[in-house]
Symmetry: C2
Subunit: 566 residues, 2 copies
Amino acid sequence: MQLNDIDINTYPNSEKIYIDGTLYPIKVGMRKINLTPTVKIENGEKVFYPNDPVIVNDTSGVFTDPAVEVDINEGIPRLRTEWIKARGDVEEQDGISSEYGKMRLNDPALDSIRFKNHYNPLKAKEGKEITQMAYAKAGIITAEMEYVAIRENLNNKELGIDSYITPDFVRQEIAAGRAIIPANINHPEAEPMIIGRAFSVKLNTNIGNSALSSGIKEEVEKAMWSCYWGGDTLMDLSTGKNIHETREWIIRNCPVPMGTVPIYQALEKVDGNVKKLSWEIYRDTLIEQCEQGVDYFTIHAGVLKEHARLVGERLTGCVSRGGSIMTEWCVIHDEESFLYTHFDEICEILAKYDVAVSLGDGMRPGSIHDANDRAQFLELDVLGELTLKAWKHNVQVIIEGPGHVPMQKIRENMDKQLSACHEAPFYTLGPLTTDIAPGYDHITSAIGAAQIAWLGTAMICYVTPKEHLSLPDREDVRNGVIAYKIAAHAADLAKGFPGANVRDDAMSKARFEFRWKDQFNLSLDPSRARQYYVESRGSDDKFCTMCGPNFCAMRITQKISDEICK
Amino acid sequence: MQLNDIDINTYPNSEKIYIDGTLYPIKVGMRKINLTPTVKIENGEKVFYPNDPVIVNDTSGVFTDPAVEVDINEGIPRLRTEWIKARGDVEEQDGISSEYGKMRLNDPALDSIRFKNHYNPLKAKEGKEITQMAYAKAGIITAEMEYVAIRENLNNKELGIDSYITPDFVRQEIAAGRAIIPANINHPEAEPMIIGRAFSVKLNTNIGNSALSSGIKEEVEKAMWSCYWGGDTLMDLSTGKNIHETREWIIRNCPVPMGTVPIYQALEKVDGNVKKLSWEIYRDTLIEQCEQGVDYFTIHAGVLKEHARLVGERLTGCVSRGGSIMTEWCVIHDEESFLYTHFDEICEILAKYDVAVSLGDGMRPGSIHDANDRAQFLELDVLGELTLKAWKHNVQVIIEGPGHVPMQKIRENMDKQLSACHEAPFYTLGPLTTDIAPGYDHITSAIGAAQIAWLGTAMICYVTPKEHLSLPDREDVRNGVIAYKIAAHAADLAKGFPGANVRDDAMSKARFEFRWKDQFNLSLDPSRARQYYVESRGSDDKFCTMCGPNFCAMRITQKISDEICK
């Protein structure tokens, strides 16, 4: 299995750079876009004025480092292994311990699809607290914290912008629960990143095969593809065959934190029969995935038995898969959700691997009609209660949010989340601001995502054009990621995030000076920008095909400035 | 020349309907989307519950009425001719009166491209005030006012929503200058529509050939194409050859109001030499276009000589074509702009045909960096002064706005526009909320457009994916229009515009009940929604390919509701 479709040459005139840590021997990968000089004619001679390079975040890891030969059969380098071991508070297990994991490992029929390198899982030593939150509360700045601090600064040091994000500020935010670094000790391949409203807005992408389509190779390639375009984290929502093996392939090649919804796999294990779901099966699934290296779990522990009756008041009921599964379980068994009753045990397990919990919003509105209703906000209060519980175990927490919300109701979501959930980071799906545009829901939702991120949401979950209709293909993933890169960046600008405007200003300067190649290279999707330009290019570089030579406003303005105004 | 590419069958299960006026013998065209019934199993039998049809605005005029045979060589029916003549205050001229128009008419070389039907232009009788604003101030409700009142209500009467928009409310808004009906008496083909913040948000599309590309046939087809997808008005920004003849073809076939920027054609007449531009040439161009039937003119009369020096302070100078032309003219001649000094005469001309003025923002910011700067807001104050001047002549006014604006600066634009321009309707291009996504600027700008429209902008001018790169093709126009239909509708929802949620609720109900065909038919782009679904469809209608049969939240919820919760 080779990864043929990622072309590391598609970020032209840029290079992978690494910034060294000062507290730890770490190297933080970023991308430096080099620009051409500005050319002016002075006294009849061409004079060249250099333009500063622009440094941008790079979520593609070693896949875009020409100095690293990636073989996905081997997996990517295990960046964090030494950092983790150096802390002396984890120990390598003799082997995997989940029943299901052992069964899969011992099944010779799976040999052909199994990832070949086996690593014994790490786990906290007895009595040790090994989560980033535990360290942060203890006043310890970890290598991961320094890593994300460097990563959040980008151009700031070079440009003399003095509002640096310091490693200790990162620590404080994590200690307060306002930010998380999802970093399972068994996923050392991931480059640390931070989710919190004091930092740049992040975007999550979803991949996953369902029973109907997709295979292992496609899933791995899709995962790398979304990282390539800019996905900061990745959720594997697979519900089909060979979930366990597919996940192993992805994690061993995944340069970003990966999340899952464990209830999906638990349900597969009981052949889709909700009645047969149990805490024991779920617990084994958690351990299986903790040992593989999943960085955060969506857990719909806020869906309570008493919420079931509220579903009937809605236009679109319960649209969360995990939420509807748990609702059905509660109703069938006439019992409280085992995710809620066993939440302390869940946290105890997660704390041993530093897996973060993403508290799922099982009652998120699935339509404009149901936005901000009783079911949604009652659940949010429960999520707030569970947040405090998780923090007692030093488990890092993020809170999932809607969904479908008209613009005038977006702020209420953000305000209520902050107060009900004690400022734990908010992580929203869109929200979609209208229901009437299937085929274009990356747009209906980018409108809502930009707004809610501006107001304080820390991470936005992308939506592709195929939402509500079918599974996204490769091109849909690209379109979804770019739409969300736009939303996240627009929010960073609006928040006044330090240095966010550097890339915009460089782009606009290039535009004004007709440096077309720099415009392509600075854009979120250089190949598409170039393609559109080239397809209809005229013979003169100094105007595009939009206005014609006599009507180009920028050209006229340059003439005015050059001749008269200076 | 035949229009082959518009398929009136692509709005499946819908029909053109006409609502009768009560004050006037008018028929208002709309589209009724019929829905399939909800099917329930009760006592082992299928029971059918009908779903109300949904009525939506239809900007495609007779092109989508199967009862009308359209031949674009003949032009579409002249809907308003009788209404206009019935008022008895206009008279038919002996022939066209602009010098340029006469020259083109008498040039036999143009016979082959000339629209064959010639109509003598209408003009106000001496001493008569014939603009919609003049009527409104005089307390007269016109047929156009009743037409738009009916059009703004859509489903409200049928659904018993009692916040009707009455014809007299329309009149009051127009009298106050808070809304306009762009309706040149020489463009009787257009179906009246209203632009104002008390009404549904409208969207404008731009077409236009430049010197480099496109021909008459393509432009006419592009115009019809944008109306088909939902453009409420249309601006012809052509700067190439045969502008006069192209425009005639478009107007005679155009079911929506059409705008132009007359300075473009005036500049063509002097071979692109700004120095040779003069009031006389511009004036003749205004008359030429008034007589053809242009409904609104963008006039950059707010760009003053003293503004030229402010351009130098900007990152991207002046990005408005009209603005940069006038700035250059002022600098070359060292004189105040003739658009400003002759503004009263301009209004006198426009008032005779009821052409509205769209005061151009020559100093709109072309980058995030330049947003809300001194040049922009100084010009806005001048536009406010010109608004009052135009209103004295009873000329209807809208105000053009930016451009590139980060989200946190959008509200200031809206607030300042309302106060500086005395609540004249705002008409903005986007705004784009970041500069870094060429190839995706329909998305960067839909994010801004949705917000500014929610805050009070009456009409948003679409941006296509090709913005900044090249001219849009047919598919780009479709993508741009749909992105802006989304933004406008999201704003209508957020404003609480009466009845706006009817289509969303119908869509969501269809979604919850797995009525897939109704979902397609209710969507803004039915053919794309269906295409995405069909491409990956499974064998069972009751789940899509996203989640698989065991994981469909809606299916599970229905089961819960059906079996337990009721």
